[in-house]
């Protein structure tokens, strides 16, 4: 191979590589634009890493509540510590470290549980209690008003259950429901 052939071959190779890179980047961006990250609540093991692995200081992962699955129980295992002193709203009885899970009396014997999102850090303590001993109505979801849709989600990388995947952007949530229980 003479020098001219070597240089022209190298140039062609470089151009092909550059073209491939540009096409790949465009495809990747298009894919990223059309998909978002989401947690499959049935794969989630409530490990707690969503609270700490997100690139945002306050995680984009929040607890959400499927009310149609909730038992509205007086003793909610997602709300109360495993061995509460009393079934009331005193801080020492609550599982949530930030008081983000709010309990409201409806009528005897029903209570409603809602999430104060600005306080929720996505630690999944309530989700674990609800899933282990209750109906499993509390679960985690990535909130897209906060998520910055990184190319590579740092929580997905750390998730031990591989529960975080890209989903179509026009169906960005995977909520639990009475119909979708598994």
């Amino acid at each position: 191979m003479n020098r001219r052939n070597f240089l022209s071959g190298s140039l062609r190779g470089s151009l092909m590589l550059a073209l491939g890179g540009v096409l790949g980047a465009i495809t990747g961006r298009a894919k990223a634009r059309n998909t978002v990250w989401q947690i499959d609540p049935f794969q989630c093991t409530q490990c707690g890493r969503c609270a700490t692995e997100c690139v945002l200081e306050l995680s984009a992962v929040k607890c959400v509540h499927s009310f149609d699955m909730c038992g509205y129980c007086q003793l909610c295992t997602g709300y109360f510590e495993p061995d509460p002193n009393k079934l009331n709203t005193a801080a020492e009885n609550q599982l949530c470290p930030t008081g983000a899970l709010v309990r409201s009396f409806i009528e005897d014997p029903y209570y409603e549980y809602t999430i104060n999102e600005p306080l929720c850090v996505g630690c999944a303590k309530c989700v674990k209690g609800c899933t282990m001993f209750g109906n499993g109505s509390l679960h985690l979801q990535i909130r897209h008003d906060r998520c910055v849709n990184c190319n590579e989600c740092s929580i997905a990388r750390a998730c031990p259950a591989d529960a975080i995947h890209r989903v179509p952007a026009d169906r960005p949530y995977q909520f639990k429901s009475r119909e979708r229980k598994s």
């Binding site: 200081e57 306050l58 038992g71 129980c73 007086q74 003793l75 295992t77 495993p82 061995d83 509460p84 009393k86 009331n88 709203t89 005193a90 801080a91 609550q94 008081g99 309990r103 409201s104 009396f105 009528e107 005897d108 014997p109 029903y110 209570y111 600005p118 306080l119 282990m132 001993f133």
Partner: protein, 482 residues
């Protein structure tokens, strides 16, 4: 005049310049920090600090309060059914011996399908998990009538399910994971039921005539357990044994007169759980064993005195499974909600009985969220919290489990003539060998179409009674032509 000390000397020109630079840098750093704080506060507004105090849920009136006892308002209504002459009995929770085991001449079909097991009759019930009792061709079930807002102790014909009579008294109960959930106890002379809000009635089992009643909340300051009472009453030697909480830990009531023969003081203030009372005998002493909210107690059957107690077994959310005796003074306790299992050993020390833990099992090894395990031929069978049927020996060694592909949820099970009947949440009935060798399913069939098929099973005269949330079926499990 003295020379100024070196430390008070003014710096020279280069020193002053250095000071100026340092001060400028410090001021710059402070300014940057202030800017960062202002930026962060404006972008992440701080939540106002709110103390979390009791009462923030605005709980309304006393959850336990009832205006007056409704038992006096009870009514007997006769139906069109009549008692059958079918043989067999299942006299209450866990059958004739209270162990969940049936033994008798009944043949059990081992190959199902083509109408086996056949559904002989079915009956609609109010939402709940209350199991049936059977005696003298009659089926007794404590139902809740949502239309009339009343507990209803119903007596049905074992032949066709038609109602013979019902005794009902008004109680307002809202759906809270079902409503009814206890099995009546029946003898030749008495039938005793305990309702969701702790109302006890004793009736004459043939005619349905009211004999006596108790309102455990009003009379004994009992607290209705969360999700309503699950304790199935016990009749021993013509007396009802009831675990109460409140002013009395346990009661013995003469079924003929309604007179309280003894009452165990509730010195620790234990509350009623969903557990039922176990009668047993150890070291020549007859006793009743009960798991209250604060531990386990053995009460003398003679006078109601406390023979022994331990705080080694308590489940904060709900204690449901009843203790089971496994011989030689050992009592096996299994629970849900992360409790696992505990084997207690009774011993006589200087004339007194004491209970010591022998071993504990993790919930992943063995436990019982809702259904009481069965002790059969020196082995313990039960459905673990993960839904798998499992078998262990009395030393706590798990011999087998049914595997991830054979889960039964919170469904009931019983053993009959060496075979296990186990129902899953959705009404799929499985027949398996009751053997320590391994899980060997034999056959299965869907016998209920609804969900939450959690009521304890009853078997008498070759007929199996099972129910889901709203419907009870009577199945012919013999496979014989009638």
């Amino acid at each position: 005049m003295t020379e100024p000390s070196p430390s008070l000397k003014l710096p020279d020109r280069s020193g002053r310049r250095g000071l100026m630079v340092t001060a400028t840098l410090a001021l710059s750093v402070v300014a940057v920090l202030l800017l960062v704080i202002v930026f962060r506060v404006s972008n992440h507004p701080l939540q106002p600090l709110v103390e979390r105090q009791p009462g923030m849920d605005r709980t309304g009136r006393d959850l336990q309060a009832e205006q007056e006892s409704p038992i006096a308002l009870g009514k007997l209504v006769m139906g069109s059914g009549s008692a059958s002459d079918l043989p067999g009995d299942w006299r209450g929770f866990r059958g004739p011996k209270g162990d969940g085991i049936f033994s008798g001449p009944t043949t059990i079909a081992r190959k199902w399908g083509s109408g086996i097991p056949a559904t002989l009759w079915d009956v609609s019930l109010g939402e709940g998990y209350a199991g049936p009792a059977v005696l003298n061709g009659r089926v007794y079930v404590l139902d809740y009538d949502e239309t009339k807002q009343a507990d209803a102790l119903r007596c049905l014909s074992f032949a066709d399910g038609k109602e013979i009579w019902r005794y009902s008294y008004p109680v307002k109960i809202k759906r809270n994971h079902g409503m009814s959930r206890t099995t009546p106890a029946v003898t030749e002379k008495f039938v005793v039921s305990l309702g969701p809000k702790c109302h006890v009635v004793c009736l004459e089992p043939v005619s349905g005539k009211f004999l006596w009643g108790l309102d455990l909340v009003r009379d004994y300051e009992a607290e209705v357990p969360l999700w309503y009472a699950g304790q199935c009453p016990l009749i021993q030697d013509g007396c009802a044994i009831l675990a109460v909480g409140g002013k009395s830990l346990m009661l013995k009531v003469d079924c003929a007169t309604g007179k309280t023969l003894w009452s165990t003081p509730n010195v620790h203030g234990w509350k009623m759980t969903h557990c039922s009372v176990l009668p047993m005998e150890f070291a020549g002493r007859k006793m009743f064993v009960y798991c209250g909210s604060g531990g386990v107690v053995g009460v003398s059957a003679d006078d109601g005195s406390v023979l022994w107690e331990t705080d080694q077994w308590k489940i904060s959310i709900a204690t449901i499974a009843t203790p089971i005796p496994v011989g030689n003074g050992k009592i096996f306790l299994a629970g849900g909600y992360n409790a696992g299992s505990l084997m207690l050993q009774l011993k006589e020390v200087e004339g007194r009985l004491v209970a010591k833990p022998l071993f504990r099992l993790k919930p992943t090894e063995f436990g019982a969220t809702q259904q009481t395990p069965i002790f059969y031929q020196d082995h313990i069978y039960g459905v673990r919290p993960d839904g798998q049927l499992a078998c262990l020996d009395v030393d706590g060694k798990v011999l087998w489990n049914s595997g991830a592909g054979a889960k039964f949820g919170l469904g009931p099970f019983m053993i009959a003539n060496g075979l296990i009947f186990v129902l899953n949440d959705d009404g799929l009935l499985t027949l398996a060998e009751a053997s320590p060798v391994g899980y060997h399913p034999i056959t299965q069939a869907r016998v209920l179409q609804g969900h939450d098929a959690w009521a304890p099973l009853a078997l008498a005269g070759g007929r199996l009674l099972a129910r889901d949330l709203t419907r009870m079926v009577c199945l012919d499990i013999t496979g014989e032509e009638k």
